[in-house]
Symmetry: C2
Subunit: 134 residues, 2 copies
C-alpha cells in the first residue's frame, strides 16, 4: 500500500484511500476486469463505494497513463499493464488473455498522415479451455 501511495503521488494523483484500493485491485488482478467487476470486488471493503467513483477513478488513472482502457464491444476492460501488447478475447467464455505481440508501427506513408496516440490489437476466437468443451 506504501508503494501504491508513492506511485500515485509520483503521477500527480492524490492518493486517497479509495484510489489506492482500486489501484491495488488492478495491480493484483491482471484479469482485465470490467467496471462492474471492480465495483463488486471492492464493495465489501468499501461499503459506501459508488460505481461512479470507479468510473471517475479509472478515468483519472487513464489520463495519467497508469491504466489502459480496452474497448470491447460489450463493455470496457481495464489493464494496469501499459506496455505494448495485444489481447485475445474468447467469444465463448469472454475471457481476455494477454498476447505478447507488439502492434506494428505505421508504415512510412501512413506515418506522414497520422499522429498515433494509441494502438489496439485484438484477436477474437476460441480459447484452449473452450475448444475442449466442444
Amino acid at each position: 500500500m506504501e508503494n501504491i501511495q508513492n506511485l500515485l503521488s509520483h503521477h500527480q494523483i492524490k492518493p486517497s484511500y479509495t484510489r489506492m484500493v482500486i489501484f491495488r485491485y488492478l495491480r493484483d488482478n491482471h484479469t482485465h476486469p470490467t467496471v462492474d467487476e471492480i465495483y463488486q470486488a471492492l464493495a465489501e471493503e468499501l461499503p459506501t463505494l459508488s460505481k461512479t467513483t470507479v468510473y471517475n477513478t479509472l478515468k483519472l488513472f487513464i489520463d495519467h497513463h497508469l491504466v489502459r482502457e480496452i474497448n470491447l464491444k460489450e463493455q470496457k476492460r481495464y489493464d494496469v499493464v501499459t506496455t505494448p501488447h495485444a489481447h485475445f478475447k474468447c467469444d465463448r467464455c469472454d475471457e481476455l488473455y494477454d498476447v505478447e505481440i507488439a502492434p506494428p508501427s505505421l508504415d512510412e506513408k501512413s506515418s506522414e498522415l497520422f499522429v498515433v496516440r494509441d494502438v489496439q490489437l485484438l484477436y477474437h476466437g476460441v480459447c484452449r479451455k473452450c475448444q475442449k468443451t466442444t
Copy 2:
C-alpha cells in the same frame, strides 16, 4: 445492380431490393459508415426503410462474410472491404481511415492456445486534416 444481385445470390442471400440498395451503398461509399449514416442516406430512396432492417441486413451480410463490422467504442462501423487491413480513427473528426497494414499473425506459442476467427488492428490519434486546424 445486376452485379450486386449476382453477388448476393452467390452468397446464398436472397437479393431483395432493400438488401441490394444497402449493399450498393456500402460498395459505393467506403467511408466505414454507421448504421445511422446508412439509414439516413437511404431514407429518401427507401421511404419505408426501418433502422431495424439496416441492422438485420448488416448482420446477414456479416454472417455471410460480405461485410465486416468494426467495433469502435462509440458505435459500430461497417466495411465492405473484407481483406485484412487496419484502421486509423481520428479522435478529433471521428473519421475512420484505411491503413494498409496486415495485422500480425499469432506467435507460435499463442497459436497453440487460441483459434483465431477475427483480428482487429486499430490506431487512434489525429489525422492530417485535424493537425492543421490545431
